[in-house]
Symmetry: none
Subunit: 190 residues, 4 copies
DNA sequence: AATGAATGAGCCTTCATTCAT
DNA sequence: TATGAATGAAGGCTCATTCAT
């Protein structure tokens, strides 16, 4: 890997933190200069706006999200286990220190109209994964027979709501657990 | 009403629109000057920051929200009707041209740490109202027997999720309707 | 006395304090509005700038300074007593809470070139008084025979220096007393 | 020397002039921009307030003031010569085109309470030098036997008074000369 | 006389962005 | 590639001043 590429990864890594702390809009190129210890010119050689940096982060993010779901389904892992794992991931996201990042993504989507497709895509992607799980649960007779499209949207929306709220309100782990239980009871057969 | 007060209301009215369009952070005092046709100094006489203006709007909002719910409950209006009405209001919020306002409130909460209590309060308030309705539905035997605390949080979160998403993604009215139906089926008996 | 005149005196009285606290330049019409509890318009009816107010204060000051010196000389009060009294007044000025006022006058003179004559006049006036005392002391044989012009300038300058310094440095009462003693020893015979 | 440092010295050099002309308070960053032909941002890169600039000037001033007095004393130069030279310097300060600077320093001290120690320090420093000269004069039997502490304060105060006045009043060179003579007669033996 | 709403000018400050080195 | 000096635009804020009431 060349030095330039390394620098770029370094910039992105540092930037995520800053975005998670301050949101998307509030971050300035100056902030990133300081965080990366790069000079103005040095940073501009690689990226010429926060928008560009943010976009680069999103791109990488999507790449990384190669789904393991397919694998575990093939391995006949019980649907409940897979689903529980999925929920655990979401809980993690709502409680961890990336709460801010979640907000930043929303802000980005709101501010940069021309980039909304990103969000759409990401949401679509998440939907695909969840639907796969739900369908698999149906087939294995572990899950109740809801309309999958509606149900997956419902679940994603609740989870989104939780993540959004948690970046902005004080939400206890217990509250989240109760919601997760609620969802599980909703779809598990007995 | 004195002239000053009138001007202040006018400022708030115009500002809501701007916040709904641009979000919280992106709005400048200059924007508000332009929208209200006030000079710099004229505006500053009444409010000295967008934060102050935003806060004033929220304050008024809370005042206005005197609940009609108590009334209709006393009038023995069917719980399903009340609840349906509540949902209709939320749908309206998600589709109307104040989508942006909802996002702005989130942004405000994220940016102004010292004002988070506002949001907490508002959410708490909304929760109280919803719980009243759900309890009433229980008592009248119209609603299933869920744990009210959990259920109300669940519903609020979904609705929040929908409103949040709609300010940022392209969500069809149909999708929202399906979610509303889903919620109703979830709690109505038969 | 008419109401208007009363208001004006009130404004001047309050303003002196403010000038003594903040100096001349730093005082704004707004400050004076606040101190006098007058509205913008109310204040402007009487004075339309801080310069005007300051000038008015100076004018009054000069009026007030009708010299008692002539009287006491006629009453054959000992020169040493008169001079000691004069020095005591200066000490008072250096220690009292009008230290700031003294600075403000300097500032005014520096800033408003067209008003420098005021200062010249005031200094001239003070010089006249002091010279009267010195001359009287000579004649009575109480004071040494210095050149009066030079001596009076010297004394005034020291006292001025003390007053100036005291508005800006931390000068002890003892230090001032020593200077006063020094001056007295300088001119008293034996 | 790097370019940045050069610019900073240039800024200070130009600023002294402006402060001497307008005093401390009245100077704006804009004034300095114009005088240095720097853009707003360019200036701010180096100094972010007139206070900072003024402080920097004072700092440099103190550095520069390495006393030559010690040297000349060692070389047994007559005390009268040294003292006369000292007085000449003060006369120069009172008449030269830096009159305004002297006032600016006072203004600075008055306005910036947190920086008063500067003035105290400078005055103390000046006192040390003068006392050295006076003591040396005593020892060589050239000067009368006054209390050195009191005498040095007296002289400094007169000189200060002269410098202050000259920035604000019209004082002739002759007047200053007479004061200088007066001081010399005061302390020289015969 | 007095009030306080409104204007507009002037200065402050911070960045995105460019560029010579 | 990287540095950091410099520019200029954008927005913030505070007043002196005017004016209708």
């Amino acid at each position: 890997m060349k030095k330039g590429q390394k620098t770029e990864e370094f910039i992105l890594k540092k930037s995520i933190k800053i975005f998670a702390e301050k949101g998307y809009t509030a971050v300035t190129m100056k902030d990133i200069c300081e965080a990366t210890d790069l000079s103005r010119g040095g940073l501009y050689r690689h990226y010429s706006s926060t928008k560009e940096i943010f976009t680069a982060i999103l791109d990488k993010d999507i790449e990384d999200n190669g789904s393991i779901v397919d694998e575990v389904i093939q391995q006949k892992v019980p649907a409940k286990v897979i689903f529980a794992h999925f929920l655990a991931g979401e809980k993690e996201a709502a409680l961890g220190n990336n709460k801010g990042w979640f907000f930043a993504v929303h802000e980005f989507a709101f501010m940069e109209n021309d980039r909304r497709s990103y969000l759409d895509e990401r949401v679509f992607h998440a939907g695909q994964i969840l639907k796969k799980i739900l369908r698999y649960g149906h087939e294995k007779g572990e899950f109740k027979k809801f309309d999958i499209e509606t149900l997956s949207f419902h679940i994603l929306t609740v989870l989104d709501g939780i993540k959004t709220s948690s970046s902005v309100l004080s939400i206890s782990e217990e509250t989240i657990d109760r919601q997760i239980d609620f969802i599980e009871e909703l779809i598990y057969i007995n």
